[in-house]
């Protein structure tokens, strides 16, 4: 029964996506047509690429943080690749460690101060992490540091809760959903705008939270993904494996 449902769901996802992308009018630039100009033949080539980022990022992306504009918009495809590198590394680590039976050794009983402080600090850690990745287009930081901060909260939890690991299944679901939403935000660009990862949302008022189009959405997805992924890695390296 479950198998049948899985097959039906996957076939349906395939058909819907295939239909979307075959019927969408994604333009393709061939050598003869298209708007690709050899940079050497073009006046803009005199302006170097870094200069162009500094001059045009506000107009192009509406992001106050130029680094974020470069990471998520101009070179967004590379960032998708970097997220995948982390995902691949975590998966490889899980192949090595995750399928062994592990015994959690209770080495030292965490002291009272740590236990109480963790309960107090943990919500603040999560809030700071979320703040950093939600404001990635306004202030320094972004999805990767924000996710890492949330993962440090997980580490604290592991130190206190010596008997249990982290909720591995929930982390895995979060990771999958976050990764899929990043890829989907990119693929929607093909349907709603012209290109993969192209911005299709209004850029809003410069310098406010609801601005810069798809950048905050992507950074939120990255934040969730990095946080749950690093949490999964911490879960995997906890304990001593027994043969």
């Amino acid at each position: 029964m479950r198998k049948a449902i899985a097959i039906i769901i996957s076939v349906a996802v395939f058909v819907i996506l295939a239909y979307f992308f075959v019927t969408s009018s994604a333009p393709i630039n061939y050598t003869t047509g298209g708007d690709y100009v050899n940079p050497i033949n073009d006046h803009q080539a005199n302006q170097s690429v870094p200069q162009q980022y500094l001059n045009d990022s506000r107009k192009d992306t509406g992001s106050q943080n130029v680094v974020t504009a470069i990471v998520v918009e101009y070179r967004g495809f590379d960032t998708l690749g970097e997220v995948t590198v982390l995902f691949t590394a975590a998966t490889g680590l899980a192949i090595l460690l995750g399928e062994y039976k592990r015994r959690i050794e209770k080495a030292v009983e965490p002291n009272f101060v740590t236990q109480v402080a963790t309960v107090i600090i943990l919500p603040f850690i999560v809030i700071v992490g979320a703040y950093i990745f939600i404001h990635g287009h306004l202030t320094p930081g972004g999805g990767f540091p924000g996710g890492a901060i949330i993962a440090s909260g997980f580490l604290l939890l592991l130190l206190v809760e010596t008997n249990r690991g982290l909720p591995e299944k929930k982390l895995s679901i979060t990771e999958s959903l976050a990764g899929m939403s990043y890829a989907l935000i990119g693929l929607l660009g093909l349907v709603l705008a012209n290109e993969f990862l192209e911005n299709y949302l209004p850029t809003g008022i410069f310098g406010t939270v609801f601005s810069a189009g798809i950048i905050p959405l992507i950074y939120i997805a990255i934040g969730f993904k990095v946080g749950s992924e690093l949490g999964g890695i911490l879960h995997n390296i906890k304990g001593v494996h027994e043969e």
Partner: protein, 463 residues
Amino acid sequence: MVSLPPVLLIAFPLFFAFLAPLINMVSKKAVKYYTMAVLLLNTAISLIIFLNVLEHGVIYEELSGFYPPVGILLSVGYLGAILALLINALAPIVYLSYFGDAENSVKFSMIYMLVTASSTGIVITGDLFNMFVFFEITAVGSYGLVASMRTKKAYEGAFKYIVLGTIGSSFILLGIATIYGYLKTLNFYDIAARINTMPESARLMSFIFLIIGIGVEAELFPLNGWVPDAYEGASNRVAAFFSLGPSKAGIYAIARLLFTLVPLVKGFNLAMLLGLLTLVIGELAALRQKDPKRMLAYSSIGQMGLILVAFSMHSALAFTAAIFLMVSHALAKSLLFLGTRGYKEGVLRNPWVAGPIFIGVLSIIGMPPFPGFWGKWYLLVNMAQRGFWAVILLIIFAAIVEGVYYARFLHRGTEGEESKVLTRSEIAAITILALILVLVGMFPQYLYTPAVKAAAALMGGGP
């Protein structure tokens, strides 16, 4: 005809690899069918893109909607289209051989999809840093695939691969930094147009950094210490997958470096030297091996050297030869790696195993009418025309060595009682690969036409 944006070749497997853990939670058995469906979808997309390229020429795609040197450019030329089709068409065939196994974890399937996508990404990208990112995904995924056997040998191979691969990646990054520091650009064609404004010493330095870094992945001579151990430690299917995916992507990157990015006379001379060393040392080392997997691994190294020699001839005919050699190597080596799981006496008594393995061996040592023959033939004709007699002698010497150890390998398999090792799905996979080898060998014109166009494009410094 429908035209599809090439980015789907990368975006779809990424999306479906992220989805795979959820499928696994619903049903564990469905994962392998799901992975197969994803790989077949990619095959269809790459076929459509290949036909589009044949019809209209190069496809450019400006990702994120920004103008090329500012944004990332994907450029699928003839060579990229041929290799993308090769990688994506063979990945499901090699994956087919897993179907008989009960043990097939979802994590393995995820990494398999990701490495297929990233190897494809290397051959279709038009941006240097983007290529580096895909190299990272390929390398990190490959460490996991090697270690997934969980034996001591697998850990040894994976550890050597991690050390060399990480050092290699750092060198690629240094090379990219050198180029970016001078030219302030990462786009291939922008770099190619302005590379001559860099001082000679800086050009040479970035060339050396990049060839050291990429050479690790492309299995070139002083940098390939990981190859025999990793191939021996990995399962046969993973070794088969390596010979069609990551190693092809690596050798493509070497061609891109030699012809487009930093075209230097010294670079071609160095490539010729490295190629000959890789060829001769690889073949001689293979002669001494007793374990069939190690022998095939060293033979792979030798083949990579031959392909590099063909690149460094810097002529359209030799480049066409290199494309035939790449196709032959991808098909025949993955066939041989799949077919030699648990190789022992009497395996070749079974005609369904012996037939495909014979075809694979014949193509590797260059017998007509298989693609390996066409590759070596075009290469030797080109060398004879230009009077490279010493190199011809070396290549013939290497071919004789190759013939000797493959004859020994076949002889060992045909002795004794018949023994059955391979599962039915593995035999199906090697039969399909052998059929493709025969078809490509009998009708070389269908590969020759796009290969000549690819060679002409590369010679002209284009995609």
